[in-house]
C-alpha cells in the first residue's frame, strides 16, 4: 500500500474529519486574488477534497499501485478507527458537505465574514449557513464523502459507490460494487483511484475511468470469431447481400449442437469436423427459397460462397479436421422468403461426401 495511505489513516484520528483520507500538499486550483484570504475555489486532501475532475464513465477494481517499502496497515487497525459515517465531512471551496443523518448528506455554505486571521481559514472552525441542498438515500451511507470538482463520492450499503453533483447534490451515478464498503482508506487523485475497506475485511482499490472497459466473454472468445475475423466476415457478408448497412450477427452458433437457422436474420456458425475430407453443406427444409452461404477460415478469409459464380443449393468443400471454419447463412431480403418459410424449421446439414 502506498505511503499516502498510511499518512491518510493517521489523519483520521488527527482531523476527525473523515475516517481515512490521504494527506498531501494542498492543491491550489485558482488562487483568488482576494484582498482577504478565502476558501473560495480551494481544495485540500486534508479536507477530503481534491482539485481534479474525476472521470465518471465507469468504475473498475484494480490492483493498487505499490511503491517503496510503505507498510501495509493491517485490517484490524483499520477497524479500530471505524465509526459510523454520520458526521463525516468534506470541504471544497466555501462549501461544507456533511453526512448529517445515516442516509443523507447536506451541503452548507461556510461563513467567512468574521475571518480576521491571516492565512487561509480552517473550515472546521467556520460557522455554516442554511442547508443549500440535501441528498437522501434509501439506505445508509457507509463511507465518504470525498469531494472532487465534479463529484462528491460516497459509499452506501446498497452496496454501491454513489457520485453526486457538488453543486446541487443530484445523483449523477451509482456504481454497484461487490462488497459492502465501511471506510475509504485512500484516494489517489493522479490515478483517480479510491481504496476502500470492505466490511468482510477485504481491501479493494477502484479506479474511475473515462470509458467503460470492453465486456469480454471467454466463452464467446473461445467460440470466436476473433474481432478482426468478424470484421472481415461482416464486410464480405454485407457485400454479397448487397447491403449498405453493416451486417450484425447474433451470437455465433456452435454447429452441430445448434443447427437451426433463424430465417429473419443472418446466422453465423462455427464449424469443425471429425475427419479430413469432402463435405456437402446444405439447408434442410429451405425448399426453393434462395439463400446465401459463405464459408470462412478461422482468420475470416472467405473460402467459398454459393452465390459468387452461380447460386448453388449445396456447397461442396474439403474440410480439415484441424481447421476451424465460420459459415454465414442468410436469406436475401425482399423476396417474401420469411412468409414462405413461416412455421417451417430450416436446419444446417454438414455431411461427409
Amino acid at each position: 500500500m502506498k505511503k499516502w495511505l498510511c499518512i491518510g489513516l493517521s489523519m483520521v484520528l488527527l482531523a476527525g474529519c473523515d475516517r481515512a483520507v490521504k494527506k498531501a500538499e494542498p492543491v491550489n486550483v485558482e488562487p483568488a486574488p482576494a484582498p482577504r484570504p478565502t476558501l473560495k475555489d480551494k481544495t485540500d486532501p486534508a479536507w477530503n477534497s481534491y482539485g481534479i475532475t474525476l472521470p465518471l464513465m465507469a468504475l473498475s477494481p484494480v490492483e493498487p499501485e505499490v511503491t517503496g517499502n510503505a507498510q501495509i496497515p493491517s485490517v484490524s487497525d483499520l477497524y479500530a478507527s471505524l465509526k459510523p459515517a454520520v458526521g463525516n465531512r468534506a470541504y471544497m471551496s466555501t462549501n461544507q458537505y456533511e453526512v448529517e443523518a445515516p442516509n443523507w448528506i447536506a451541503v452548507r455554505p461556510l461563513d467567512e465574514s468574521a475571518v480576521v486571521a491571516e492565512g487561509i481559514p480552517n473550515p472546521n472552525e467556520l460557522p455554516t449557513g442554511d442547508v443549500r441542498a440535501v441528498w437522501k438515500n434509501p439506505v445508509n451511507i457507509t463511507a465518504g464523502p470525498i469531494a472532487c470538482l465534479n463529484a462528491i463520492i460516497m459509499a452506501d450499503s446498497e452496496p454501491s459507490i454513489v457520485v453526486l453533483d457538488p453543486a446541487n447534490l443530484q445523483l449523477i451515478k451509482r456504481f454497484p460494487v461487490k462488497g459492502l464498503i465501511v471506510a475509504f482508506t485512500g484516494f489517489n487523485p493522479d490515478r483517480a483511484e479510491l481504496s476502500v475497506l470492505q466490511a468482510d475485511s477485504h481491501m479493494v482499490t477502484y479506479r474511475f475511468l473515462k470509458e467503460a472497459p470492453p465486456v469480454s466473454d471467454p466463452v464467446d472468445e473461445l467460440i470466436g470469431p476473433s474481432a478482426v475475423a468478424l470484421e472481415n466476415i461482416q464486410e464480405k457478408t454485407a457485400k454479397l447481400l448487397s447491403s449498405s448497412e453493416p451486417v450484425q450477427f447474433g451470437r455465433t452458433n456452435l454447429f452441430p449442437i445448434a443447427s437451426e437457422i433463424d430465417t429473419t436474420k443472418p446466422n453465423l456458425f462455427r464449424l469443425t469436423v471429425d475427419a479430413d475430407g469432402a463435405y456437402r453443406i446444405y439447408l434442410d427444409g429451405i425448399g426453393d427459397v434462395p439463400f446465401l452461404f459463405i464459408l470462412f477460415n478461422e482468420a475470416g478469409e472467405s473460402i467459398f460462397s454459393n452465390v459468387e459464380y452461380a447460386a448453388e443449393k449445396v456447397l461442396e468443400q474439403n474440410l480439415e479436421k484441424t481447421g476451424v471454419y465460420y459459415l454465414v447463412v442468410s436469406l436475401f431480403s425482399g423476396n417474401q422468403a420469411n412468409q414462405i418459410l413461416q412455421g417451417r424449421t430450416v436446419k444446417l446439414v454438414v455431411k461427409r461426401k
Partner: protein, 557 residues
C-alpha cells in the same frame, strides 16, 4: 434414454458417495462397532456364578444409555422443528408483514396455519421463547422424558449411569486381575463400543481403544475398569495408576488428555444453541421485530471467552455431530462478525457481548478465518469463466437449446435438474454474458411455475427442487419465504448435502455484499461439506437480517 442415463449417473454417484461416507464415517482400523456394543459373549470369561449378575449390570447400563440416546435425539429433533418454524415465520413477517393479503396468501401456499400478521408476530414470540427454553434445557442437560408425570432429566440419567457403572467396575475389577490381555480383548472392545454410543462421547474413543491395545496388561485391566464406568466423563488420566511408567502409557495418557479436552468441548459447545438464539433476540430488538419487551437473557461470559478463544478446527469438530450445531455456528460467527464490524451497532446499548469488546470479537473471528485458510476464499475460487473447456461450452450450448424449446414444466425441470449436475457447464451458463438472455428467460419461467403451484408440497418431486433454487443465483437477496419453505421441506429428505458450485457462487455474492466474509459462509473446516441446504437456510437467518436492519438504522425520511 436420457432419463436412464441420468439415473445411471445418479446411481454411480450414490454408490461413490456412500462408499466415501462409509469410509470416512467408519475408519477402516476402528476396533469398535455397534454389534460389539450389543455383545455379552465375553461373560464366559467369568465364573458361572457371576455371569448372571454381570449380564444384569450391563443390561442396566445399556438401558439407561439407550434412553439417553433417545432423549437426546428427541430433543434435537424438537429443536430442529422449532428452528425451522421460527425461521419460516420470521421470513414471512420480514417480507410480507405490511401486506396482510399477500401474507395470508403466502401462508396458505406454505401450508401454514392461518394467522394475521399481528397474530403471527405473537406466535413467533411464543415459538422463540419455547425454542430458547428448549435450547437452554438442552445445553444444561435438563431435558429428558416424562415418567409418571415426572421429568426424568438427562442429568439424572447420567447419574444413574455413573452409579451403575461404578457397581459394574467394582464387580469386574477383582475378577479380571489374573486375566491376560488377549483374553480380555473382547470385553474391552465391547465396553468401548458401548461407551462410543454415549451421546457425549467424542469420536476419539476409537483411537483410544486402538492405543489401549498396546498397553501393558496392568494398564489394560485399568482401562477395562474405566470403560466399565460407562461414562466418557470417567476417562481421565487420574483414573489410571502408573501411566507414566512406560512409553505406551505416556502416549496413552496424551491421547486420554486429548479425549477429555474433546469431551469438555463437546459439552461446552451446547451453550452455542441458546447463545445463537439469544443473539438473534438482540437482532429482533434492534429491528423492533417480534420483540416481546421482555429483558433478553445475557450471553454467558465464560462461554463467550471460551468460544472466542477456541481452536477453530476443534470448534468445527465439536459442532460436526449435528446440523443443528453447524447452523448455530454459522449463525453465531456471522452475527458476531457483523456486530464487530459495524460501528453503528456499538452505540446505545446495542452491544450484546458485554465486557468482550468489538476488537476482541473481530480478532477472534479473523483468527478463525486465518486458521482455516479461508480468508481468501472468494479470491481462490477462480471463476470457471477464466478458462472454459470445450466440454463445458458444449454442455452449456446444448442446455440453452433444450430450454429454448417450448415444453411443459416437468420436462423443463427435468432438464434443469439434470443440467445442475454438470458443474462446469452450469457455471458457464450462469456466469457467461453470452447466456444472459437465456438465463433471464429461464428464471422467469421457473418463477412463474413456482408461484403458480397451488402449494409448496405440490412442488415435489424433490429432485426438481434445486432447479427452483437456481432462481436465487442472480439475487443478492435472502431467500423468499416461499423458497425457504421449499428448502426446509427438501432438507428433511435430502440425502446429499454437498454444496453445488453455483450455490457457493450465490453465497459468495450474498456474503460480501452484506459485509460477511465468504470464509464464514463456506468453510470446510468449520462446517464440513454438509453445507448445501444448511447454508441456504442459514443465509436467511439473523446475521443477514441484522445487516438489513443495520443498513437502515436511523434512517430519516
Amino acid at each position: 434414454m436420457v432419463k436412464k442415463r441420468r439415473y445411471g449417473f445418479l446411481t454411480v454417484c450414490g454408490l461413490l458417495f456412500f462408499s466415501v461416507v462409509g469410509l470416512a464415517g467408519l475408519p477402516a482400523d476402528s476396533l469398535l462397532s455397534p454389534n460389539l456394543a450389543k455383545s455379552t459373549t465375553w461373560v464366559s470369561l467369568f465364573a458361572k456364578k457371576d455371569q448372571e449378575r454381570l449380564r444384569s449390570l450391563v443390561s442396566a447400563l445399556d438401558k439407561t444409555r439407550t434412553v439417553m440416546v433417545q432423549d437426546t435425539q428427541t430433543a434435537m429433533e424438537a429443536l430442529s422443528v422449532y428452528g425451522d418454524k421460527v425461521r419460516l415465520l420470521e421470513a414471512l413477517l420480514d417480507r410480507y408483514r405490511f401486506d396482510e393479503g399477500t401474507f395470508i396468501k403466502a401462508e396458505q401456499w406454505l401450508e401454514l396455519p392461518h394467522l394475521a400478521p399481528l397474530e403471527a408476530q405473537k406466535e413467533l414470540s411464543r415459538l422463540k421463547l419455547l425454542y430458547l427454553t428448549s435450547a437452554r434445557a438442552f445445553a444444561d442437560y435438563q431435558f429428558g422424558h416424562r415418567s409418571g408425570g415426572e421429568l426424568i432429566t438427562y442429568s439424572k440419567q447420567e447419574e444413574i449411569l455413573v452409579k451403575n457403572g461404578k457397581t459394574l467396575a467394582e464387580f469386574i475389577g477383582p475378577r479380571i486381575s489374573s486375566l491376560g490381555k488377549s483374553a480380555l480383548k473382547p470385553l474391552a472392545l465391547s465396553l468401548a463400543s458401548r461407551l462410543e454410543l454415549h451421546p457425549d462421547c467424542p469420536s476419539e474413543i476409537a483411537e483410544l481403544a486402538l492405543r489401549a491395545e498396546k498397553l501393558p496388561s496392568a494398564l489394560y485391566r485399568q482401562w477395562i475398569i474405566v470403560l466399565a464406568g460407562g461414562s466418557p466423563a470417567g476417562i481421565l488420566p487420574t483414573a489410571f495408576k502408573g501411566l507414566k511408567d512406560t512409553a505406551e502409557g505416556r502416549e496413552f495418557e496424551r491421547a486420554i488428555t486429548q479425549f477429555n479436552a474433546s469431551y469438555i468441548q463437546k459439552k461446552q459447545i451446547r451453550e452455542l444453541l441458546p447463545s445463537a438464539i439469544i443473539l438473534g433476540l438482540y437482532t429482533d430488538r434492534l429491528a423492533q421485530f417480534a420483540d416481546t419487551g421482555e429483558p433478553i437473557p445475557p450471553l454467558y461470559k465464560e462461554f463467550l471467552e471460551q468460544f472466542f478463544s477456541s481452536d477453530s478446527t476443534r470448534l468445527g469438530k465439536a459442532c460436526s455431530s449435528n446440523s443443528l450445531f453447524r447452523r448455530a455456528l454459522v449463525d453465531f460467527l456471522t452475527t458476531s462478525w457483523v456486530y464487530g464490524t459495524r460501528p453503528d451497532l456499538w452505540q446505545d446499548g446495542r452491544w450484546p457481548f458485554g465486557a468482550l469488546g468489538p476488537a476482541s470479537v473481530r480478532a477472534a473471528i479473523q483468527q478463525v478465518l486465518a486458521e482455516t485458510g479461508s480468508n481468501a476464499v472468494s479470491d481462490s475460487t477462480e471463476s470457471p469463466l477464466s478458462q472454459p473447456s470445450w466440454e463445458a461450452v458444449h454442455g452449456a450450448e446444448a442446455f440453452v437449446l433444450k430450454i429454448q424449446r417450448p415444453q411443459d414444466l416437468s420436462s423443463l425441470l427435468s432438464a434443469v435438474s439434470e443440467f445442475l449436475l454438470q458443474d462446469q457447464a452450469c457455471a458457464l451458463f450462469l456466469e457467461s454474458p453470452r447466456y444472459e438472455k437465456d438465463r433471464t428467460d429461464l428464471f422467469q419461467k421457473l418463477n412463474k411455475a413456482f408461484y403458480q403451484a397451488p402449494s409448496v408440497s405440490a412442488l415435489v418431486p424433490l429432485s426438481f427442487n434445486q432447479a427452483f433454487l437456481l432462481m436465487q443465483w442472480q439475487s443478492k437477496e435472502v431467500l423468499t419465504p416461499e423458497l425457504l419453505g421449499l428448502v426446509l421441506q427438501s432438507n428433511k429428505k435430502a440425502l446429499t448435502k454437498e454444496l453445488q458450485p453455483w450455490l457457493g457462487t450465490y453465497l459468495l455474492t450474498l456474503g460480501p455484499a452484506r459485509g460477511i466474509p465468504g470464509g464464514l459462509l463456506i468453510n470446510q473446516t468449520l462446517y464440513g461439506t454438509e453445507t448445501n441446504c444448511n447454508l441456504f437456510i442459514q443465509a436467511n437467518n439473523s446475521s443477514l437480517r441484522l445487516v438489513y436492519y443495520t443498513n437502515r438504522l436511523g434512517i430519516q425520511e
